[in-house]
């Protein structure tokens, strides 16, 4: 899958092309072993749109975010690809330029709010520190005023008083709001939220997602929401990119993608949601492919109910109506049926 997806670097806010990330480590016998975790991830995001990056555990969703943001740690290594943000390839930027973007033009919201806040600093101090790191000229008073404003806008009651709160005094939902405030405080153009509501109660989840969507729309921010919850994608995202074994196997606007999923993996995933699930039906089984010994051709073919001989060759990227693309030998015929 080397062909880039539909977006182009001029109009896309984020355009990830053929991203390959491997875990390269020496084993006990001193032989180099390579786990090919990302195998040509391509997707693009337009400004003001919300993209849901969806897939099961180990599909490479979070790794994609970490790769794009330059946050990988050894033995993970990017071995190929590009990620254009506002026309610049993030993967080729020197560390100080990337640092200047992260936390300012690009905001990140991570899954576990409790472990992502500095436990030894009050909420207000963390928000002030973050602003002054990117704008040294800003006075402490100005930064604090802005902190109050952003806390209020993410729905934290009594924000002036909350500046003095310690992270451990916050509930999970409140801590997640603070993290969203931190991601937004420097007015980013791109927001990446990795499982922003996993672990929160459903009634709180609704509040956080409403907030994320409203903030993104009001500010014209492009957002990537990483999730395994198709319900979140269906109701809060404009587009979805479905990942399997380190590849985006299908991307498209949410409406057509749910109505006419073109990749058999996407079809299986949608059929397994509780609303559509019929118990004791025939269903595809099998495990994700072994990242140390990936097969040639389509990576899904061992689990695929419709695989044929030609699936041993790499699947084409098929363009379907409405900006919907799928990487499958059967995509065009099946989507039409």
């Amino acid at each position: 899958m080397t062909a880039p997806h539909g977006g182009d670097t001029l109009t896309a806010l984020l355009d990830v092309r053929d991203l390959h990330t491997h875990f390269i480590a020496r084993d006990l016998d001193n032989k180099v072993r390579t786990a090919r975790a990302l195998n040509g991830v391509s997707f693009s995001l337009a400004p003001g749109r919300i993209l849901g990056l969806v897939g099961e555990t180990g599909a490479g969703k979070s790794l994609t975010a970490l790769s794009v943001l330059g946050l990988l740690k050894p033995p993970a290594r990017i071995v190929g690809g590009q990620a254009f943000f506002e026309g610049r390839d993030l993967l080729a930027l020197p560390p100080d330029e990337l640092n200047a973007l992260r936390g300012s033009r690009i905001g990140l919201v991570v899954q576990s709010p409790k472990t992502s806040l500095d436990p030894l600093a009050r909420i207000g101090a963390q928000l002030v520190r973050l602003q002054r790191a990117h704008r040294p000229a800003l006075s402490a008073a100005e930064a604090e005023a802005r902190a109050v404003e952003i806390l209020a806008s993410v729905g934290i009651p009594d924000p002036q008083r909350r500046l003095r709160a310690w992270p451990h005094e916050l509930s999970g939902g409140m801590a997640q709001r603070v993290l969203i405030a931190m991601a937004l405080v420097n007015e980013p153009a791109l927001l990446i939220a990795d499982e922003p509501t996993t672990g929160l109660d459903v009634t709180v989840q609704a509040q956080i997602l409403d907030l994320l969507r409203a903030m993104a729309l009001a500010r014209g921010i492009g957002a990537v929401i990483i999730t395994h919850d198709l319900g979140v994608v269906a109701h809060y995202c404009d587009e979805a990119a479905v990942m399997f074994a380190g590849q985006v196997v299908e991307q498209g606007p949410v409406g057509p993608l749910f109505a006419r999923p073109a990749h058999p993996y996407t079809r299986g995933l949608i059929a397994a949601t509780p609303e559509r699930l019929t118990l004791r039906a025939q269903r595809p089984t099998g495990s994700p492919p072994n990242l140390y010994a990936l097969p040639e051709g389509c990576l899904y073919r061992d689990r695929c109910p419709i695989a044929e001989a030609r699936c041993a060759t790499p699947p084409p990227l098929v363009a379907l109506p409405e900006g919907h693309v799928a990487s499958c030998h059967f995509a065009s015929t099946d989507a039409a049926a």
Binding site: E56, V202, T203, G231, H235, G255, L277, L279
Partner: protein, 326 residues
């Protein structure tokens, strides 16, 4: 459905903490018959897991009565509880934490037979093999350690252990919450088959209303330690009566972008379980609460115009104002 296998009356569990007494479970009563699946739904801190553990006497209740298979086990000594646990089993949310990492799947299943049956060594080996096949773990898989199994396979081992002793009651505490969608579907298939085959009563604890709809015959909704509504499953999905149940249902996101959401977004803070308000615990977040909701205690009462088994604890049932508009 046969005679009730489990009768719980006025059950309460209080945990003393340095900050005060946490009322985890408050005055909960229900019955469960053989072959029946009762879904227990609520958010974190609602007391649903504590209730499940109390029922099996994994924690000792502070008040109330638990009658299992005709015997009062509320204050039974630990030795008796141990003997009984062959006929009452539990499946936990995190299979990795529930399995001894230094035993193979086969030994883990055999362990249950060793503890609770008088089978010979050879019989145990055959039975473990049979149980493995039953939960669709082929023989070769049984020689693996938990660390060599996927999450779904680990949960299958836990289920094989739970059914090994042919229990009359199985408590399932979020058995599929840590699993991916496609794996979850397989586990739910298996549980539905076992429900029919074994005739065991199941208490299915979850926060996922979608899963519950597939599994439960009856549903009980908990909020801050109290049951706020109970009803036959079909009824509660069609006509949730308690405002909290309505909010919970409306917050569920179906994986279908064309589905219309009736959004009742809650505001207000969840009260501390240490200082529960005298009235309805949900009043602080309830869109239809009246001033006296915070003062007057509520009890489960029949929902007007519904099936007799549909009960909810809401003061506004009387004036019909329990339905959240919009």
């Amino acid at each position: 459905m046969s005679a009730p296998i489990l009768q719980v009356t006025g059950l309460a569990k209080r945990f003393p903490t340095p900050g005060g007494v946490v009322n985890a479970v408050n005055d909960v009563s229900f019955t469960l018959s053989g072959g029946e699946t009762l879904g227990l739904v609520g958010e974190s801190g609602s007391g649903k897991s504590t209730l499940g553990r109390c029922v099996l006497r994994l924690v000792a209740p502070s008040a109330g009565r638990i009658v299992f298979a005709g015997q009062d086990i509320t204050t039974a000594p630990e030795s008796r509880c141990r003997a009984l646990r062959g006929s009452m089993q539990m499946v936990f949310q995190d299979p990795w934490a529930a399995l001894n990492p230094r035993m193979t799947a086969r030994d883990l299943i055999e362990e249950m037979l060793l503890l609770h049956t008088r089978l010979s060594r050879a019989e145990r080996r055959d039975e473990a093999e049979r149980l493995g096949l039953r939960v669709r773990l082929p023989s070769a898989m049984l020689d693996r350690y938990p660390g060599e199994l996927s999450g779904g396979q680990q949960q299958r081992v836990c289920i094989a252990r739970a059914i090994a002793t042919k229990p009359a009651l199985i408590v399932l505490d979020e058995p599929t919450s840590s699993l991916d969608l496609s794996v979850r579907a397989g586990i739910l298939d298996l549980l539905a088959e076992l429900k029919e085959e074994t005739g065991a009563a199941m208490l299915f604890i979850t926060h996922d209303l979608g899963t519950l709809r597939l599994m439960a015959d009856r549903v009980m909704v908990m909020y801050l330690g109290r049951v706020v509504e109970q009803a036959p499953a079909a009824e509660i999905y069609e006509r949730p009566a308690h405002p909290y149940t309505q909010a919970l249902m409306s917050a569920h996101l179906p994986a279908d972008p064309t589905a219309k959401l009736a959004r009742h977004v809650l505001t207000g803070e969840i009260p501390s379980p240490i200082n529960l308000p005298p009235g309805c615990a949900f009043a602080s977040r309830c869109p239809v609460a009246l001033p006296n909701c915070r003062e007057r205690a509520t009890n489960l009462e029949a929902v007007p115009g519904a099936q007799a088994t549909h009960r909810a604890a809401c003061l506004r049932l009387a004036d019909g104002g329990n339905r959240i508009p919009g």
